[in-house]
C-alpha cells in the first residue's frame, strides 16, 4: 500500500447521495484477477449514458479528489471500488458519510476517505463549481482540508492515520502478535466447525 501524507489536486463535485459500489464499478468489471487496471469500469454507466456526468466534463477530467454526497460506497464489499478510484486517478474521497465496508477497504488500499460535515461538503461543491481549477489540499498529517484560504479540520482515528502515513499493511502488523494468536487457538473448544475433511450429507 502506498503511504498517504498530503495530497493537492483539483476536485470533482459528485452531487449524488448513496452512491453504491455497483455504480463505482459494475460487476462485469470484477472478473479480472489482477489488482490494477480497473479504471475502465469506474462509474462506467454514468460516463457512458450521461453526457453531463461530472467526470465527463473536461474541467473535472483531471480531478484527483472526489467530493460526493452522503452515504458514499454503500452495497457490495468489493474492494475493486477503491482500486477503480485509485486507478482512475483519485487519491481521496470526501463525503459527510461513508458506508462502513467501503471506508474500511479504503484504509487498506491507500485511498483516503475524509468525513466532513454536509455543510462543508456543500461549500466545497460550490467552490469547485465556481472555479474547477481551485487547488484542494487534503493533509493527513495536519488532519485538514484546505482550499481557497479555508481550512476545514477532519477527524480520523490515530491508528488508521498512522498506518496510512506509514503505508503499513495489516498482515505484517498482526504477525507481531503471533504468540497471542497461538494462545487463543489453544483455548478454542474442539467442537468448533471444520470444513475439512468433507463429510457425507
Amino acid at each position: 500500500m502506498d503511504a498517504f501524507t498530503t495530497h493537492t489536486g483539483t476536485a470533482a463535485p459528485l452531487r449524488r447521495s448513496a452512491v453504491d459500489t455497483d455504480q463505482i464499478i459494475p460487476a462485469e468489471y470484477l472478473k479480472r484477477i489482477t489488482r490494477t487496471g480497473f479504471e475502465d469500469g469506474l462509474f462506467v454507466a454514468w460516463r457512458t449514458n450521461e453526457p453531463d456526468f461530472v467526470l465527463n466534463q473536461p474541467q473535472y477530467a483531471d480531478a484527483s479528489i472526489l467530493v460526493a454526497g452522503p452515504d458514499f460506497g454503500t452495497g457490495s464489499s468489493r474492494e475493486h471500488a477503491c482500486w477503480a478510484l485509485l486507478d482512475g486517478g483519485f487519491r481521496a474521497v470526501i463525503s459527510s458519510r461513508f458506508a462502513d465496508i467501503f471506508k474500511n477497504n479504503s484504509t487498506k488500499s491507500g485511498l483516503l476517505t475524509v468525513v466532513l460535515p454536509q455543510a462543508e461538503v456543500e461549500a466545497l461543491w460550490a467552490a469547485v463549481e465556481a472555479d474547477p481549477t481551485t487547488p484542494v489540499t487534503v493533509d493527513l498529517q495536519a488532519k485538514q482540508v484546505t482550499y481557497g484560504g479555508h481550512g476545514v479540520p477532519f477527524q480520523i482515528d490515530d491508528y488508521t492515520r498512522w498506518r496510512l502515513l506509514e503505508g503499513l499493511d495489516d498482515v505484517g502488523l498482526t504477525e507481531r502478535h503471533l504468540p497471542d494468536i497461538e494462545a487463543y487457538e489453544a483455548r478454542r473448544p474442539a467442537w468448533l466447525p471444520k470444513s475439512l475433511p468433507a463429510l457425507p450429507a
Binding site: 452531487r15 449524488r16 447521495s17 448513496a18 453504491d20 455497483d22 455504480q23 459494475p26 460487476a27 462485469e28 470484477l30 472478473k31 479480472r32 484477477i33 489482477t34 489488482r35 454507466a45 449514458n49 454526497g69 452522503p70 452515504d71 454503500t74 452495497g75 457490495s76 464489499s77 468489493r78 474492494e79 475493486h80 477503491c82 461513508f98 458506508a99 465496508i101 474500511n104 477497504n105 487498506k108 488500499s109 482515528d157 491508528y159 495489516d170 498482515v171 502488523l173 498482526t174 504477525e175 502478535h177 497471542d180 494468536i181 487463543y184 487457538e185 473448544p189 474442539a190 467442537w191 468448533l192 466447525p193 471444520k194 470444513s195 475439512l196 468433507a198 463429510l199 457425507p200 450429507a201
Partner: protein, 473 residues
C-alpha cells in the same frame, strides 16, 4: 456488565486488545468465492505466506457460474479464468472447494448453513457483504474486502473496532402473505440504506422468534442494505433443530456441549442498545421497491412517490434520479407496474422454503405469457431437495425456467441478465442501477409477490390473485 448477544460473541473472540489500536478478533470460519479472492491469494504468494488454517476455510464457485449447461466449461473466457484461478488457489493452499457440479456447490451464504458450518456464537467472514446472512444462527458474521481476505487467510484474525449496538424489535404476528422479506424491506425503508452504519443489528421480538431459519436468514442477509456491519438473531430451539445432524454440526457429546454454550447466547435483560427501531408485525404488508436502492420501498398498495412533494433538496434529487432511471411516473399505483422478468433466487430468497412458497402459488396456474420467470436454487442441495419434492415440475408446468445453482441474475456476472430497459421483480437484495444487467430495472419483492407477479405480469400481492382453478384429475 450486562451485554448484548453481539457483544458476547465479539468479546469471546478478542485475541488481543490494546489502547489506541483496533482489537484483534479471531475468525472461526472464512468463506471464499472466486470474485474477491484472486488478489488475496496473489498477495500471499508474493509475501511467501501460507493459509494459516485451511480447515477453517471453505471455498465455492457462485458468482460467475452459468445456470445452464453447468457441466461444460464456462463460455465466457474471463469468467472461466476467474473460476480457474480459484481452483488453482484452492489446490495450492489446501482449501476445500465446492466447484460447479459438486454436491456442495452453491451460493456461499446458502452452503455454509446447509453444511452445518455456520454455528451459533462463531465469527464468520467472507469477501462478500451478504455474509450477514449467517447472523441468523447467532453468529457474528460480516463482509470484508479483498485485503482483509488476505489478512484472514494469513492469520485467521482480523483487526476490528467494537461495533455499536442496534435493536430492531418486531412484536406481534405477521399477517397472511407477509414474509420476513417484507419485514426487512420495511426496516430499510424506515432507517435508510446507511441508517445502521457502524452498528450490529439484533433482530428480536415475538415475530422474529416465530420465524423459520430460512426466514431469519432472509432478514439478516439484508442487514447490509441498511448499512449495518452485521445482523443477528439469538439462537433457540429452531436454530438447534435446523443444525442437528448436518454434516459439520457437532455430534454426540460435542453436540451437548455446544448446545449448552449456545443457550447462553442471549442479550442480557438490562443490556443497553445504542439505537432501537420498533415495528408492529400486524401492521406490515407486502413491500416492493420502486427506486434504485433498497431503502426506496413501499407497501405494494402504494403509488410511485412524487418528488415535487419532497421538501429536502438532496432527497428530491435522489428520487428524481431514481424515477428517471426506473422509467416511472409519479402517482402510478405500484400494482400497475408491468414487469418483463421475474427472478426467484439469490442468497436472500433462494432457499427451499422460498421455492416452496412460490411453487404453492404457481401450482395449477400458468404464468403471464409476456413474462419470463427464472427459478435459480441457491445451491445444489436446495435444487436436489426441490426436485425430490417435485417443485421443479410445478415451476416448469407453470411456464418458468428451472436452472442450476448460483448467484445468477442477482448480479448478472453470468449470462442471466436483464436487457437495457427491461424490468424485473426480483427476490434478491439489490435494486441498484444496472445491478441485474446494464440498463435493467429492478423491483425487490418477496418470493410470494414474485410468484403472484409472474402470474399477472404486473407487481401483484398473493392476496390479489383469484383462487386457482381446481386441478382436472
Amino acid at each position: 456488565m450486562p451485554k448484548t448477544l453481539a457483544e458476547k460473541v465479539y468479546d469471546a473472540h478478542v485475541v488481543r486488545s490494546a489502547a489506541g489500536e483496533p482489537d484483534l478478533l479471531y475468525i472461526d470460519l472464512h468463506l471464499v468465492h472466486e470474485v474477491t479472492s484472486p488478489q488475496a491469494f496473489d498477495g500471499l504468494r508474493a509475501a511467501g505466506r501460507t493459509v494459516r488454517h485451511p480447515e477453517l476455510t471453505m471455498a465455492t464457485e457462485d458468482h460467475n457460474v452459468p445456470t445452464l449447461e453447468i457441466l461444460k466449461p464456462i463460455a465466457d473466457p474471463v469468467s472461466r479464468a476467474q473460476v480457474e484461478a480459484l481452483r488453482r488457489n484452492a489446490a495450492e493452499f489446501g482449501i476445500r472447494l465446492a466447484p460447479m457440479g459438486d454436491r456442495d456447490q452453491g451460493i456461499v451464504h446458502v452452503i455454509g448453513p446447509q453444511l452445518g458450518l455456520t454455528q451459533p456464537g462463531t465469527t464468520i467472514v467472507c469477501g462478500d457483504s451478504h455474509t450477514s446472512t449467517h447472523g441468523a444462527f447467532g453468529a457474528l458474521a460480516f463482509g470484508i474486502g479483498t485485503s482483509e481476505v488476505e489478512h484472514v487467510l494469513a492469520t485467521q484474525t482480523l483487526p476490528q473496532y467494537r461495533p455499536r449496538q442496534m435493536a430492531v424489535t418486531v412484536d406481534g404476528e405477521l399477517p397472511e402473505g407477509v414474509s420476513s422479506k417484507d419485514v426487512i424491506l420495511a426496516v430499510i425503508a424506515q432507517i435508510g440504506t446507511n441508517g445502521a452504519a457502524g452498528h450490529v443489528i439484533e433482530y428480536r421480538g415475538s415475530a422474529i422468534e416465530a420465524l423459520s431459519m430460512e426466514a431469519r436468514m432472509t432478514i439478516c442477509n439484508m442487514s447490509i442494505e441498511a448499512g449495518a456491519r452485521a445482523g443477528l438473531i439469538a439462537p433457540d430451539e429452531t436454530t438447534f433443530e435446523f443444525l442437528k445432524g448436518r454434516p459439520h454440526a457437532p455430534q454426540g457429546a460435542d453436540w451437548d456441549a455446544a448446545v449448552e454454550y449456545w443457550r447462553t447466547l442471549r442479550t442480557d435483560e438490562d443490556a443497553v442498545f445504542d439505537a432501537e427501531v420498533v415495528l408492529d408485525a400486524a401492521s406490515l404488508t407486502p413491500f416492493v421497491t420502486w427506486g434504485t436502492n433498497p431503502g426506496q420501498g413501499l407497501p405494494i398498495t402504494g403509488s410511485v412517490p412524487d418528488p415535487a412533494a419532497i421538501a429536502d433538496e438532496g432527497e428530491r434529487r435522489a428520487v428524481e434520479q431514481a424515477l428517471a432511471y426506473m422509467g416511472l411516473t409519479p402517482g402510478t399505483p405500484l400494482r400497475e407496474i408491468e414487469v418483463d422478468t421475474v427472478f426467484l433466487g439469490s442468497c436472500t430468497n433462494g432457499r427451499i422454503e422460498d421455492l416452496r412458497v412460490a411453487a404453492e402459488l404457481l401450482r395449477g396456474r400458468t404464468i403471464d405469457p409476456h413474462t419470463r420467470m427464472l427459478v435459480v436454487p441457491g445451491s445444489v442441495g436446495v435444487k436436489q431437495q426441490a426436485e425430490a419434492e417435485g417443485l421443479d415440475r410445478v415451476f416448469v408446468e407453470a411456464g418458468a425456467e428451472w436452472r442450476g445453482a448460483g448467484c445468477s441474475m442477482c448480479l448478472g456476472m453470468n449470462p442471466d441478465q436483464l436487457k437495457p430497459g427491461e424490468r424485473s421483480a426480483s427476490t434478491s437484495n439489490r435494486n441498484f442501477q444496472g445491478r441485474q444487467g446494464k440498463g435493467g430495472r429492478t423491483h425487490l419483492v418477496s418470493p410470494s409477490v414474485a410468484a403472484a407477479t409472474a402470474l399477472t405480469g404486473r407487481l401483484t400481492a398473493p392476496a390479489d390473485l383469484a383462487p386457482a382453478e381446481p386441478a382436472v384429475v
